[in-house]
């Protein structure tokens, strides 16, 4: 058992090929080097997979880890991090879900689990405090995420268990299938649901009541926690905006700046943005405010469609990212269509961002005559056609006909189609872009390009540039800004706390605040320099994973559209990031990171970060 508080000190290893489940100690030395979720995920995935491992093969692993803040009184830290080699990008993937699952795992006695091998028949993992077993899931295979969850609750006779589950899309290994957690949250990105499906693992269910979590320094922890609670009570965004609207106020905020992805990013001004604004969603959909475990912010909304074709349909959220991907990006101006699409994604278990971006790509191909109505099986995939969005989504989740093609994601679709479509295939490293402009922020241009995940808005953050704190139109100093912001996001995902409280803790650069939190809760003795090294270590290890799998500078890029087509209208008219600008930023960034001109970490960088025990030079330079 570890001497550090906030941990259970052990994790589960579940071998599905052999049907063997064991407990392993989480070694103190590993904790000191990698702390939690993101760090541990990167460490074990790198260490335990071989170069070239097939993402959907028996040798890939699905790794789950909580952070040491999860299950403590620290606010807004409910996350479970899920890690694997992504079928969508072929690189390192981490995705984090809220809800109550992560905390329940700790209360059952485990910091995480490593799932390896592949079962012959569908199974689920049942963790009943210290007793863990594989159970037959044949009767749940093919069932929706909700049906499965409800059935497992009945089977184990406990309504309050916590469940991570895949839907039919994960079973069919749709490349952007997600893992649904507690019904209302998703480890959405990068196809982790497909990895779970490839292992014939339908669900992980937990009852955790017997393990208690301690904090190391109660006095200091209380002081920090109370100050964050006070901030949540008094800060307008956290006490009013998020509980009332979730993150959906971003729709109008981005539109008024002229950076709202619209019709597959052909423009960044959506003339119907008011129709899908936070106010419209509140009026037409939101019924009740909900929250994740131990989160005083409350950004989740239960929705019920009140009228029209989908009247009575119940779903959770949608948040801004979904309003972007399945709304403005597809030219959709009806919140009810977005809610219906959100429902289909949640029940079948696919990422709403990748799904929306993939459909927007198909729509542009259709309007340009590259895909015909016949090829789309009679679906008139024009921007703004809500029925087409729903029909295409239903085909994707069933992976039937044209749906099988769309389920590949934008990168592979464009590779198959050719005809210049790669220019408007909106992804980075294969991961479809989140709803924050590349052209409208020079820092995001670099941040997206170098993100280890690809098109994620959770590595580099847009807010410091959106707020005007940094000049979004200038490339000056953006290499340092990406270093500073990603050092906080990787620590956020390592501790773990939610992006909703990033503002309170600090977005640009690690500070004593980060150090004080982790020292107080866990009993570490880190100083700021040590924490900075840990952040850099984790980011470099993810990077090394990608390099090992064949990525380098060529993959640190952005969609052609954003390098050649200026934003055509609105307040950000004329903005784009030409290749020369991106290259200049990349050169400076690599230098700052201690990487060579091809973006590969130098041998001395690896050594300085203490990664040479697992990263071998031959993995990076063949």
């Amino acid at each position: 058992m570890t001497k550090y508080s906030g941990y259970c000190g052990k994790f589960l290893r579940v071998n599905l090929s052999k049907g063997i489940i064991t407990e392993e100690e989480l070694p103190g030395k590993v904790i000191e080097k990698y702390i939690g979720a993101n760090g541990l995920g990167a460490y074990y995935l790198y260490k335990e997979t071989e170069k070239g491992v097939d993402p959907l093969g028996e040798n890939n692993k699905l790794i789950l880890f909580t952070g040491p803040l999860t299950g403590t009184i620290f606010p807004s830290s409910p996350k479970i991090g899920i890690f694997s080699k992504s079928p969508l990008t072929g690189g390192f993937m981490d995705s984090y879900a809220g809800g109550h699952f992560g905390a329940e795992l700790k209360f059952a006695g485990y910091d995480g689990m490593i799932v390896e091998g592949k079962s012959e028949k569908p199974v689920y993992i049942w963790i009943n405090n210290g007793e863990v077993e594989l159970r037959d899931a044949a009767e749940y295979w093919g069932k929706s995420t909700t049906e499965t969850r409800e059935a497992i609750k009945k089977e184990v006779n406990d309504d309050l268990i916590r469940i991570a589950v895949i839907g039919p899309a994960g079973e069919k290994m749709v490349h952007y299938a997600c893992i649904m957690v507690d019904g209302t949250h998703a480890a959405g990105r990068g196809g982790l649901g497909a990895v779970m499906g490839s292992k014939k693992l339908k669900a992980i269910a937990i009852r955790g009541t017997k393990n208690s979590i301690k904090v190391a320094d109660e006095e200091k922890t209380n002081e920090i926690v109370e100050s964050i609670f006070e901030e949540v009570r008094t800060n307008k965004v956290m006490s009013e905006t998020l509980p009332t609207f979730g993150t959906t106020t971003a729709t109008l905020a981005n539109n008024s700046t002229g950076i709202l992805g619209t019709r597959n990013w052909q423009t960044e001004v959506f003339e119907n943005a008011e129709d899908i604004s936070h106010i419209a969603l509140k009026e037409q959909l939101f019924e009740k405010t909900l929250s994740c475990f131990q989160c005083p912010v409350r950004c989740v909304h239960y929705c019920k469609i009140k009228e029209g074709e989908y009247k009575g349909l119940e779903t959770m959220k949608p948040q801004y990212e979904t309003v972007y991907s399945l709304g403005s990006l597809c030219g959709i101006n009806d919140p009810k269509v977005i809610a219906k699409a959100n429902y289909i994604c949640n029940e079948a278990g696919i990422d709403t961002i990748s799904a929306g971006v993939s459909i927007a790509f198909v729509m542009e191909c259709f309007e340009k005559g590259i895909l015909t109505e016949k090829e789309l099986e009679g679906i008139e995939a024009r921007f703004g056609n809500g029925k087409a969005v729903i029909a295409l989504l239903e085909k994707v989740v069933a992976k039937e006909g044209i749906g099988e093609f769309i389920s590949l994601g934008t990168k592979r679709m464009s590779e198959k189609l050719g005809k210049g479509t790669e220019k408007f295939a909106i992804h980075v490293k294969g991961l479809e872009l989140a709803g924050h402009s590349i052209r409208g922020y020079k820092g995001m241009s670099l941040g997206y390009a170098v993100s280890n995940r690809g098109g994620s808005h959770q590595d580099m953050r847009h807010i410091p540039e959106r707020s005007g704190q940094f000049d979004r139109r200038s490339i000056e100093g953006k290499e340092q800004l990406v270093v500073d912001i990603t050092s906080t996001t990787v620590i956020r995902d390592t501790f773990t706390y939610c992006a909703m409280v990033e503002g309170v803790i600090g977005r640009v650069g690690l500070t004593e605040k980060h150090v004080n939190i982790i020292n107080a809760v866990c009993g570490f003795d880190f100083d700021l320099e040590e924490l900075k090294t840990i952040a850099t270590r984790i980011l470099n290890l993810e990077r090394c994973f990608n390099i090992r799998e064949g990525m380098d500078r060529k993959d640190d890029t952005i969609p052609g559209r954003f390098m050649t087509e200026p934003i055509p209208e609105g307040p950000s008219k004329g903005m784009y990031t030409p290749k020369e600008e991106l290259d200049e930023m990349l050169d400076k960034f690599y230098k700052l990171r201690g990487w060579d001109e091809n973006g590969i970490p130098l041998q001395e960088t690896i050594k300085e970060l203490g990664l040479d025990d697992i990263v071998k030079d031959k993995d990076l330079r063949s």
Binding site: H100, L290, P296
Partner: protein, 150 residues
């Protein structure tokens, strides 16, 4: 008498109350050691229901307690628990018709809301404002009195 009331329309189901309750009383975090529990039934967990001691004027827990470790205190106007008299039998938890008492899984003593001595931590940390400490009488006893049900 003072009682904890939960406005379930406001409750977001975050269970901050459970974490702080356990931490305040037991110095550890574990919802199963909390005196208040938020039950989130239903497929989307959209209707959280709180289970917490209602400080009955005529408490079934006290009736069932063989040693008098639990009783309604006229002075404090709440149901009080005296650990020294507890024989860890669990009769109180079985008897409470509201499910408000559970047993500590290690110490085997009842987890019974003590209103944190008058300043409940659950009330303090509920940013939704769903949990309040109210000065209200036992409505069940009032109704029984009026309709002469003894």
């Amino acid at each position: 008498m003072k009682r904890i009331k939960v406005n379930e329309t406001k409750c977001a189901g975050c269970r901050v109350c459970e974490s702080f309750c356990a931490y305040n009383h037991e110095k550890v975090i574990n919802p199963s050691l909390s005196r208040i529990t938020i039950i989130n039934p239903g497929i989307l967990e959209q209707k959280p229901i709180a289970v917490v001691c209602r400080q009955c004027e005529k408490p079934k827990c006290a009736e069932a307690c063989p040693t008098g470790a639990l009783k309604f205190s006229d002075e404090k106007q709440m149901v009080v628990f005296n650990e020294n008299e507890c024989i860890n039998c669990g009769a109180c938890a079985k008897a409470c018709p509201y499910g408000a008492i559970t047993m500590h899984f290690e110490k085997r003593i009842p987890l019974k809301c003590d209103l944190c001595g008058g300043d409940p931590t659950c009330v303090k940390h509920c940013t939704a404002g769903a949990i309040t400490l109210e000065e209200i009488p036992d409505e069940i006893e009032i109704k029984k009195k009026r309709f002469e049900i003894s």
